[in-house]
């Protein structure tokens, strides 16, 4: 199954990946090949089979709601490439 260019562009937009036209063409083929390969899963009869989301068997691992202090919040801000104002990371506008 060949993915259309529009589909690839749509998926890239959802994934917030800014792809060039060349990349879109390249991924169109590569992704189609991968999707063709995984089509194999349709050979398997999975009627009545419960999906496995995780293999630990654990459920509802709870934690006490206790406040713990972050040792040095300024160190965390140092990792950001964006300007810091009043201990806040300044980002580009969300809306125009």
């Amino acid at each position: 199954m060949k993915l259309t260019k529009e589909k690839v562009k749509h998926v890239a937009k959802l994934a917030r990946l800014g792809l060039t036209d060349h990349e879109i063409e390249k991924f169109q083929t590569e992704l189609s090949n991968i999707l063709d390969y995984v089509e194999m899963l349709n050979e398997v009869d999975t009627k009545g089979i419960e999906p496995t989301a995780q293999v630990t068997g654990l459920t509802n691992v709870m934690e006490k709601d206790i406040v713990r202090r972050c040792e040095n919040p300024h160190r965390l801000l140092e990792n950001s490439p964006l300007p810091i104002e009043n201990d806040q990371i300044k980002v580009k506008p969300v809306f125009e």
Binding site: V8, Y37, G57, L58, L76
Partner: protein
């Protein structure tokens, strides 16, 4: 023998008996690491100053303590997807090229608590997504047995560093084979633990229901010593069950396998695999039989669906885990001007992620998107249940399973990079254990006609690491494949 050629156990004896210091041991490893790195590229960062500082502290501990932990003062290489406080951690991705964590991964913290010595960070495929270490933003790690070939992946750097004695052991992760396959390609020993046995806190997540934290070392006994330190429930990782950590070296003094039933699955010996790989693994199993194990043919009927199942589940989870790399809180951001936040995201992520990451993110986004979720992700999760049941049924008949790790020995650099599906097919024997969440040990079991290492996989039921370590340990008592070293000019 040079100090860096010692195993953890041997080095510990030497340190305890004051034959040498951690500082001397560390300097020997650092020298080897630096001498080889241009050729091999196993390390993304060699942390000489940190290492010497840690060795100094370790020597103080060794002076004071009567019974120091066996890992005290021992140089370790840390895979570059493990957060190490104050030491650059990149997951070998441009999107984290300059990231310096403010905390240690739990596994690193536990090693530091026993005064380990961090020699450096090792190379990996970008965000551990790969089977050859070719997608690293720092370039590929060459195989020490043949520099034109890959070390395997994603823990190629860790495997190559251990194989060349450029460290005494290394941390690593295994999501679809990333410890076992490079261990096999480089002729070293590696353990993929039961999912949840070791905390994943502070280790950059790839596929959260599949990722495991483990180690690569020079033999099984050393792996057990490492497990004694890193295994266990962690407050910060809610997928670590409250299951007791046994003493992993107990039972490793066995010299036979009497009473053990080992299964050989039909589906792991297929046409298309390299002849030598099949030959050496079957020879190894015959050795296990001579040691008293009963060998039984078994079937894991859904094996062939493991790879496509994984290549839906894995990218889906990868796409979710990669969403945090948005250039806001960490990473180098983008030099280009962005009009608004949306543009900023597009640019940061286009510049920061390599091709394989983009591929996986897109497949995952597609598989999870409205209209496709049932057809892909849900379907794959159902197939996963069947694959898990294959193992549960098999372990009613046998105690452990032995099989190959990869269909081939180390392939040439560049051989598979233009065909993603071909690269994915190399994972067919390792993926099932990740889907089922069971532990699997990789031990060297021979060489091919062109002198490339071959490994055997020993798979056990969940939390039965002591059993598979025992089998591996007994095998290493009567063979010396794990002692062979590559010659690098």
């Amino acid at each position: 023998m040079n100090l860096n050629e010692l195993t953890i156990h041997e080095a510990h004896q030497g340190l305890k008996n004051k034959k040498f210091s951690s500082a001397e041991l560390t300097k020997a490893c650092l020298k080897k690491a630096k001498d080889l790195n241009e050729k091999l590229n196993a390390y993304t960062l060699i942390t000489e100053a940190w290492a010497l500082e840690m060795a100094k502290k370790a020597d103080e501990v060794l002076q004071k303590e009567q019974n120091p932990n066996p890992l005290t003062g021992i140089p370790v290489a840390v895979k570059d997807s493990f957060c190490t406080e104050g030491i650059r951690t990149t997951a070998c991705s441009d999107i984290l090229r300059n990231f310096i964590p403010t905390y240690d991964a739990t596994a690193v913290k536990k090693l530091k608590e026993v005064s380990c010595v961090i020699i450096g960070k090792t190379n990996t495929d970008e965000f551990t997504c790969g089977a050859s270490t070719e997608t690293s933003c720092f370039g590929v790690t060459r195989n020490p047995w043949d520099l034109n070939r890959v070390s395997g992946g994603s823990s190629g750097g860790s495997a190559a560093a251990v194989a060349t004695d450029a460290c005494i052991y290394a941390t690593a992760t295994d999501t679809g084979g990333s410890i076992r396959q490079p261990a096999s390609f480089c002729g070293v020993t590696g353990l993929k633990v039961t999912y949840g046995r070791v905390s994943r806190y502070g280790v950059m997540a790839m596929a959260s229901s599949l990722d495991t934290v483990g180690a690569i070392a020079k033999n099984v006994f050393d792996i057990a010593l490492i497990m004694n330190v890193i295994a266990g429930k962690d407050y910060f990782d809610s997928t670590t069950p409250n299951i007791e950590v046994p003493d992993y070296i107990k039972g490793l003094d066995s010299t036979d396998l009497k009473g053990l039933r080992i299964g050989l699955p039909d589906e792991y010996f297929i046409s298309g695999m390299e002849e030598d790989v099949e030959k050496k693994v079957r020879e190894a199993v015959r050795e296990l039989e001579k040691l008293g194990a009963e060998i039984k043919k078994i079937s894991l009927p859904y094996t062939k669906y493991a790879c496509p199942c994984y290549y839906v589940i894995c990218p889906s989870e990868v796409s979710a885990n990669m969403a945090r790399y948005d250039g806001i809180r960490f990473g180098p951001g983008t030099k280009k001007e962005a009009e608004d936040l949306f543009d900023y995201y597009l640019q940061v992520r286009d510049e920061g992620f390599g091709d394989e990451m983009k591929r996986r993110i897109m497949i995952g986004t597609y598989a999870l998107s409205a209209g496709y979720y049932e057809a892909y992700y849900l379907k794959a999760q159902q197939v996963r249940t069947l694959i898990k049941m294959d193992f549960e049924n098999a372990f009613k008949e046998v105690d452990a399973i032995c099989c190959p790790i990869a269909p081939t020995t180390a392939f040439k650099i560049g051989e598979k990079t233009s065909d993603p599906v071909l690269m994915y097919l190399g994972d067919i024997f390792t993926i099932p254990a990740n889907l089922a969440g069971v532990p699997a040990l990789a031990v060297p079991c021979g060489f091919s006609k062109n002198s490339l290492p071959i490994g055997m996989q020993i798979i056990g039921p969940q939390f039965k690491e002591p059993l598979i370590l025992k089998i591996g340990s007994v095998y290493q008592k009567i063979t010396d494949w794990h002692k062979k070293k590559p010659k690098i000019s």
